[in-house]
């Protein structure tokens, strides 16, 4: 398959942003010579130097905390968290400082920073390397949270995230890092926009990040059975592009939300509640949710059973249609 991988697309996007603005710098563990454990920053330290691509001490609170200081000094730090499960030591700074800084300063301070997090499971990893923790951040006012699902978005969204003066949590679907695709010449959408990536008429599937591909595959399979599924890639998880979702569900009358995170208290609940509120009289079935089970992420040998897959999505579609 021709094209660029998601990992390379983020790399190119970072490079473009750094070329454009000398205040952009990268901070993280092993992002220098190694190029990051996923090689997303490969070659950037070589080209931009150690002052702009900083191998930090091994301390996530320290990384985000000093990045805040850098941003206060006028830089635009892009932080890499090595794996989703290692963002928690930095949680305090993200929740109490990053998210609130602009509001607490009555707009006198802007804190343009991006926190990149490879997210989700499916790579057979050990504990803490497969977490889907977006709901913690989407529930945090003051942050923007986005997740790319394909190389084109990876390339453009990372640049948009860096350009935004608001702090952004930028999720990268790690098990799709090596999926290839074309990069469009220009950004087709704004950072906050969802994309209808496959139109359909019977049921709306809502997904983001790694589950977009799963939903597209499910839609493909459903098509063979004569069911027409519309697939929406949310792209922005906070804020959510409500109009695009509402327009779709009012048409289809049915929605299934799919994410890897456990469903209880996950973003799916928010989407379901919003859809109920906005599409109450169009709904022919309750909004259903397909997600991880409400248990800690299991050992790798069980992750296929834990994670939503094509079958579980189609099962939910059938249940929706049975209403």
């Amino acid at each position: 398959m021709p094209g660029t991988t998601i990992a390379k697309a983020v790399n190119n996007g970072l490079r473009a942003a750094m070329d454009k603005d000398a205040r952009v710098l990268l901070m993280g563990e092993d992002i220098g010579k190694l190029g990051g454990v996923f090689r997303v920053t490969e070659g950037l330290q070589k080209d931009f130097g150690e002052e702009r691509v900083i191998d930090t001490p091994l301390a996530e609170a320290g990384i985000v905390g000093t990045a805040i200081g850098m941003a206060l000094r006028g830089y635009r730090p892009v932080v890499e968290i090595q794996f989703d499960g290692f963002v928690y030591p930095a949680f305090d700074h993200i929740i109490s400082q990053v998210a609130k800084m602009r509001a607490r300063s009555l707009g006198k301070i802007t804190l343009p920073m991006v926190i990149r997090i490879p997210v989700g499971g499916g790579i057979g990893a050990v504990e803490h390397h497969s977490e889907s923790n977006e709901a913690y951040f989407t529930h945090t006012a003051g942050l923007r949270v986005v997740c790319c699902a394909n190389p084109g978005d990876a390339y453009w969204m990372i640049q948009q995230a860096i350009e935004t003066d608001d702090p952004v949590i930028f999720y990268e679907p790690k098990r799709r890092y090596w999926d290839k695709g074309e990069i469009p010449e220009t950004a087709e959408l704004g950072l906050g926009d969802a994309r209808v990536c496959r139109p359909g008429t019977d049921v709306t599937l809502l997904a983001y990040g790694p589950m977009v591909k799963t939903c597209l595959q499910a839609a493909e399979a459903a098509d063979a059975e004569g069911k027409s599924l519309e697939v929406i890639d949310l792209r922005s998880l906070s804020p959510v592009d409500v109009p695009t979702i509402v327009e779709s569900v009012r048409r289809t009358g049915r929605a299934v939300v799919v994410h890897e995170a456990p469903t209880f208290g996950g973003l799916g609940g928010e989407l379901a509640a919003t859809i109920m509120q906005e599409c109450f009289y169009s709904l022919e079935a309750p909004v259903l949710r397909v997600g991880g089970y409400n248990i800690p992420y299991p050992p790798a040998k069980l992750e296929d059973e834990f994670l939503p897959d094509l079958d579980r999505v189609l099962d939910a579609v059938d249940r929706s249609l049975a209403h």
Binding site: R102, G107, I109
Partner: protein, 397 residues
């Protein structure tokens, strides 16, 4: 009452549990020890010091009188704010009583281009940075979270989460390095950063991480720890069993203890540390050995956990009295000057009281207006709903 008496009272404080005896805690430090830099004794006598006397040479008598004025005015601001809190005008107030010298000495050591990261108690530093005390009162009144422009004053917003600001300061200092604003020899350009924090804060992982980052990057930052002996109700020995200034060496840079109630010593030591940072020689940890004379905040009741004899001892080490004695003795200031400062303090207090009482409440919509820079549909929607909802009441009246 002598120090020895207090030590006795100290020991009686509580029947030691078996575990307590087992772990043999160092008794609460009452005295900074021989390693403490002191240039003025509590009685106002000047102690010569080979390392730091030179730093003081650049100070004019005007500067010195200015220090005195700062000390008195900020203590008055503090007293007025405490009174206003008692009268229900402030939600809470965190008093700096006893720590004036630590704050004025370090605050006055800063150059305009330097940047300070305070806790919630740095009213004296705020004063030195030109922040209107009314801004501080506004915060404690609940009108806003500070209200000054940090970048105008080079003084960050108060940080309440213990220790967090030390990392911000270190990152800011790393930015200063990247701007090439250290070690150039240009007095107007070379920049240092100072991070304030308390003795309790030293236990927080954030503070240690900031020492790691500063050490590894050699960032131009001074870690200024006001050891006021207490973290709310917990005495210093709940946080450490060795003097705090010693923390720095294991992170690869110098630590120094200074008499935090001696404005000259604090000025000299902080100034030297800032110069060291500005010239590209990296971080320093300064422990200002001082005492929180009042309650932790107006919500606190120290009688629950500390003996008044301890407070008495520290009264004899008052930062203003000793400096006044020295100024007078040296003939650097006279009765008239002292009187004038008192009058200025009265005026300031009245101004603050008035300003506080007449401080307008914020508009409700303000809470929506600064959350994001770029448009945000959910916030916009809620702001509109909020406005409509509020209007519905106005209609009803």
């Amino acid at each position: 009452m002598s120090d020895t008496d207090v030590a006795a009272t100290e020991a009686e404080r509580e029947p030691r549990s078996e575990l307590d005896r087992l772990t043999a805690p160092v008794p609460a430090v009452q005295d900074g020890g021989p390693e403490m830099v002191q240039l003025l004794t509590p009685e106002g006598q000047r102690v010569p010091n080979a390392d730091y006397d030179a730093v003081l040479e650049s100070l004019t008598d005007d500067d010195l009188r200015g220090f005195y004025r700062d000390l008195v005015l900020i203590r008055r601001v503090d007293a007025e704010a405490t009174a206003l809190q008692r009268q229900g005008e402030l939600g809470i107030w965190a008093s700096l009583l006893g720590q004036e010298a630590a704050q004025v000495g370090s605050g006055r050591a800063l150059k305009p281009q330097d940047y300070a990261f305070p806790t919630y108690r740095e009213h004296g530093v705020a004063w030195c940075r030109g922040v209107d005390p009314l801004n501080l009162l506004g915060l404690f009144r609940g009108v806003n979270h500070g209200g000054w422009d940090p970048n105008e004053k080079n003084f960050h917003l108060y940080t309440i989460v213990i220790g967090a600001q030390t990392l911000h300061a270190t990152g800011y200092a790393m930015g200063v390095q990247r701007d090439g604003a250290v070690g150039t020899g240009d007095d107007l350009r070379d920049t240092a950063v100072i991070a304030y924090f308390g003795d309790g804060a030293t236990s927080q992982g954030d503070v240690s991480e900031s020492l790691v980052f500063a050490g590894v990057t050699n960032a131009p930052v001074v870690f200024f720890c006001q050891n006021n002996q207490w973290a709310i109700s917990e005495p210093n020995e709940r946080q450490t069993r060795v003097p705090l200034y010693q923390r720095a060496s294991g992170f690869g840079f110098p630590g120094i203890r200074v008499d935090g109630n001696d404005v000259l010593a604090v000025y000299a030591v902080t100034r030297a540390a800032l110069d060291h940072a500005r010239s590209g020689q990296g971080p320093t940890f300064v422990e200002a050995f001082t005492y929180r004379m009042g309650a932790h905040t107006t919500s606190d009741d120290p009688s629950k956990y500390r003996v008044s004899a301890e407070v008495e001892v520290w009264k004899h080490r008052d930062p203003i009295l000793r400096f006044k004695a020295w100024l007078a003795h040296e003939g650097k200031a006279d009765h008239e000057f002292f009187e004038a400062v008192e009058r200025e303090a009265d005026v300031l207090a009245a101004h603050i009281r008035e300003g506080c009482l007449s401080m307008p409440d914020p508009a409700g919509t303000e809470m929506f207006d600064h959350v994001y820079v770029e448009p945000h549909p959910l916030v916009a929607k809620e702001r509109a709903e909020f406005t409509a909802y509020q209007a519905s009441f106005e209609g009803a009246h």
